[in-house]
Each structure stands twice: as C-alpha cells, then as structure tokens.
Assembly symmetry: C2
Homo-oligomer: 309 residues x 2
C-alpha cells in the first residue's frame, strides 16, 4: 500500500517524513486535522510572474481596447510596457491599487467569470502547457491523501481571495470557504428593482495576507490551528511555525525551487516581507521538511483533475 | 418518499414551499447550493436570554470567585444583579465590551473548552431540558435534507464567531469555517519557547454581524451568494433579501415565535438594528416564507444528534 501512496514522490527522507506525519495524525481527532497550503510557488508555478498578475495585465489590455486613454495612465503604461524600473519607481502598492481598480464596481460573479475565462485560455509562456496544468502533481496527490484521511484542506494565499476562489475548486477541489487570501472589500447596493447586489470596491480589507497576517486570517476564517502547513517563502514563515507549535504531530513543508530543468531554480522570496535570511536556512534551523523539487519529485506537473470537494 | 421528508414539519403551504425549493434547486450547479442560517431564535431558543449572554454571566461568576473585587465594577455589578435599568444606562456596548474583556489574552483553545464545558452542563431555565436540546428539530431536519442534496450549510450569526464555532459541530454538524459571526480580533504572540501562540483580544474586528454586515461577511468568508437564508429578526433582513435576489430559485425563511405553549410567543427584534416595521410584515411584503412554530412544526425540540459534517 505504501508504494501506491504519493506515487509522484521519490522515496527518501522527505517522503518518509510526510508518510510518518500522515500515520501519526490518525490518532488526532478529526477536528484537529486541518492542512493549509500557500498557493503561488507551493501548489502551482509562480514564475516568470504570478498568474494573478498576468490576469490583471490581460484585463488591462482588454480595458484599453475599450477605452484607449487608459494606456496613458502612468501605472498602466508601466505595466503595459513591462517596465520594471518604472513600476518600481511608482511603487508596487500604487500599481497594484490601480490594477485592482479595474474591477471596481464589478459583481463577484462577473469577476469570477473573468478569472475562469482567463484560466481556460491562458498558457504558460515557457513551460509549453496551459497555465491550469502548472499545478504540482505531487502536491495534488498529497491533498487527495489528506482528504482520504479526513483532513480539511485550505488554501492560504497572499494573492487575492476572489481570484484564488474562482479557480480553487477546479485546480485543487477546494471550495470558496476554504480559501483565505488578501481580501477586497465589498459594498452592498440595491439594483433598479430594489434587489440586494454586492459589488467589489478598490479597497483592500485588512492587511495583505502574508506572514503574521496569515496566522490571524487562519484563526479568523478557519477557526483553528493547522497541523500541516506548506509554503515556499518568508510570507509563509509564521504559518509554518504555527503548524509545528503544538505538542501533537505537526508538519511544516517548504518547497524549494531547485529544478531548472523541469520548472525553475530560484531562492523564493516574498513580494511584501523583508527577509534577512533565506527561507531554506530558516527551515533547516526550525526543523521543517524541505521539499526539493529536483530530488523529491519524480514528476512535477500533472494533467489529472483535482477531485471535487 | 415525500412523507418521510422533513417529518417534524406539518403539511401545508410552508412545508410545500420548502419542498418545492429543494426540488427546484436540484437543477442548479452544486457550487450555487449555499444555505445560511441565523443562529439565535432560528436554530435554537434565544429566550429568556441569548445563550452566549448566559455563558458570559457564568464566566463572570467564576471570575468573581477567583477575584471578588471584579464584582464592584459597574458593568459587572449590573450584570450580576440582572439590573436591566443599570445595564441600559451603562449602554449595552460598554457592558458587552466588559464581558468580552474577561477572555482577553486567552487562547482560542481555552475559550472553546470553556464554551463546551458550559454547554455540557447548562440547562434552560424554564423549558426543562439541557440548553443543547433547545435546538429546533424541524430546522435540524432541514439542514440534514439540504446536505443530502449537496448544499453547503453555514451558520451566520450576530453572536460571537468563536462561541458559535465551539458548539456548531455538536449542535448542527457545521465545521468552524462555515460559521460567520461577530469576530474578536486576535494577536499573534510567541511563548517562552519561541513558539507561535494566538490570543484573543478584547477588540471586535469589523462591525457587529447584523443586517448589511451579514451580507458582506457571507461574501468575504463564504465567497458566494446563498440561495436559502433563514432568520427571525431585522438583523437577518438583508441576508434573506439577498437569497431571493437571483433569477434562479431562492428561499427566504422567517421563523415566527408564535408558540407560547411549546416555546415562546414574541415579536422578534434585533439587539442592534433599529426597526420601523415588524419583520413579519416585511417578510409578507417581500414574499418570504414565514414559519409559524405553532402551525408548521409538529415538534419543536429534538434530542437527536446532528450528523457530523
């Protein structure tokens, strides 16, 4: 049976640590079996750009087709020219706010439909596959195995809550209430018939969902401490530490992107967290389980569908 | 088969409307099948006092045993004397803040354990049964039937998120991520070993979860519009309207407490929402389905256990 378990994971200490944790966790009550996964760089590819950023650029191009004057706005000109110097001079926060503003006033349903349409047609620029198939097969297998063992599996992302929710069921079998990300505020309106309508604003509700904020958001939204957390950057540090903070079994998985041949080789850094030490060094020091894509994964990508939640 | 469906609901227009909705909803995609239930007065008894308030008073009495000087504080003296005039003069918000402060610095796990211990021993003052058995049997049957039809069932309460979460699995089979209430902020600490610890504060994060806030919280936490909403007071109005705002099937259920013999007879009002019109009148005007406890429920309370989610 153990041979069938996690078939895309190569035998070795990493797989052994995961299997030992899965077996250990069976003695815990089901209500403690919460596993949280960062999204970008942990469940799917985040290079050369976050998928959500590519979606925003796509939406911007469409908006400019309808309304060409938008292209003259500084933030949008920088994005359309892919001018990283100009973006950095304007400041990422200002550029992000401008992009978020493209969806101001939209209903969540319209936003969700746009994100899904994008995913249905988008291809990765270098990996020669649809963006939807840049999911990591070994992580999908782990999610499936956790569910078989009565774990609740949640995605805890620095990315936009609604963007990830639009895709999470198709990509990972995760329903919207189990996605915790950076949240846009909504306003409650009425339409011409007096019916309630919810609309997006361009204001972020609360902090960007990184670092300590991930811990608070898990407590607020999911209501309990995870015993498995997986991530790849400093934005995931506190969440991974928290999963290891109990006296009961806990597992902190750190994905190391060390596979230039099949994916990318880079030192993961967070977009919004200042880092004084590489996250892989922190992980070694704190006793996390580092997942080497090159060494631990027999396959990286998989075309199988996620099981519906 | 229809005879076995919802056995505690008497035949008549209310039960017919519910069964028609359940059948209608089968043509909708599963991801649209979200049902939200208010808690106090909708899923269980809220008279003579909210259960959470009784829990707070219980916690206050224990705190005073340990630290008698607490009883001298104005807010606590008013609560301990059950002095409604003094409470009203101090203001409910100030009294509530004082009570919330009793748990300041506690871990969510300690708070959860205290709430569960309370529920395990608490009895209703007049109904001659444990507080945990003041759940409404017809609503439990409806929840079970919704789950059988692949609905996601959530509790959307004006009460404290953590208090309801502590009990929701036992009472209704609802896991913590499907409870949306009024949220206390948490802070992220480290213990003496440097491990991450989450602690309650005495600050409410965001608005009290009533009226429009319920709509925004459902969108933020659950990520989609419900097609069934059940409530009993003006604090549920917008949520019920929202469930009815689509072109697809929607059901708004309003529980009317008109059964002095088996429960209580009263006009439901919200603790925090100003009301210019009785909620039952609003419901009639907007085409909601009013549930008369006296007329529509063959039994009110049930001792059967909720099915685990």
């Amino acid at each position: 049976m153990s041979a069938e378990l996690l078939p895309s994971w190569r035998t070795g200490p990493t797989r052994d640590a995961i299997v030992a944790f899965l077996d250990d966790a069976e003695r815990l009550p089901v209500e403690q079996r919460l596993a949280v996964f960062d999204n970008d760089g942990t469940l799917w590819c985040e290079r050369p750009a976050y998928v959500q950023y590519t979606f925003f650029v796509h939406a911007l191009r469409r908006a400019v087709q309808r309304e060409p004057v938008l292209a003259d706005r500084d933030e949008f000109a920088a994005v359309l020219d892919d001018d990283t110097v100009a973006i950095s001079e304007l400041g990422l926060a200002r550029v992000a706010t401008a992009l978020i503003g493209l969806f101001n006033g939209q209903t969540p349903e319209a936003f969700t439909a746009a994100a899904r349409e994008f995913l249905a047609t988008s291809r990765h620029p270098t990996l020669e596959r649809p963006t939807s198939e840049t999911r990591y097969l070994p992580m999908l297998e782990l999610i499936d195995e956790l569910r078989r063992r009565d774990f609740t599996v949640a995605v805890v992302s620095g990315g936009g809550t609604e963007f990830v929710r639009a895709l999470s069921r198709q990509l990972y079998g995760v329903p919207p209430e189990l996605v915790v990300g950076t949240l846009i505020d909504h306003r409650v309106d009425r339409d011409d018939l007096g019916r309630i309508v919810v609309r997006r604003t361009n204001v972020i509700a609360g902090p960007v969902n990184e670092a300590q904020a991930k811990v608070r958001a898990i407590q607020s939204c999911l209501g309990r401490r995870p015993i498995l957390a997986a991530g790849n950057s400093a934005g995931d540090r506190e969440m991974l530490e928290w999963a290891m903070s109990g006296d009961d079994p806990g597992l902190a998985l750190l994905v190391d992107h060390d596979d230039a041949a099949r994916e990318f080789r880079y030192q993961s850094v967070s977009g919004t967290v200042e880092e004084s030490e590489p996250i892989t060094d922190i992980g070694s020091r704190l006793g996390w389980t580092t997942v080497s894509m090159q060494r631990d994964w027999a396959e990286v990508f998989g075309d199988r569908s996620a099981e519906p939640a």
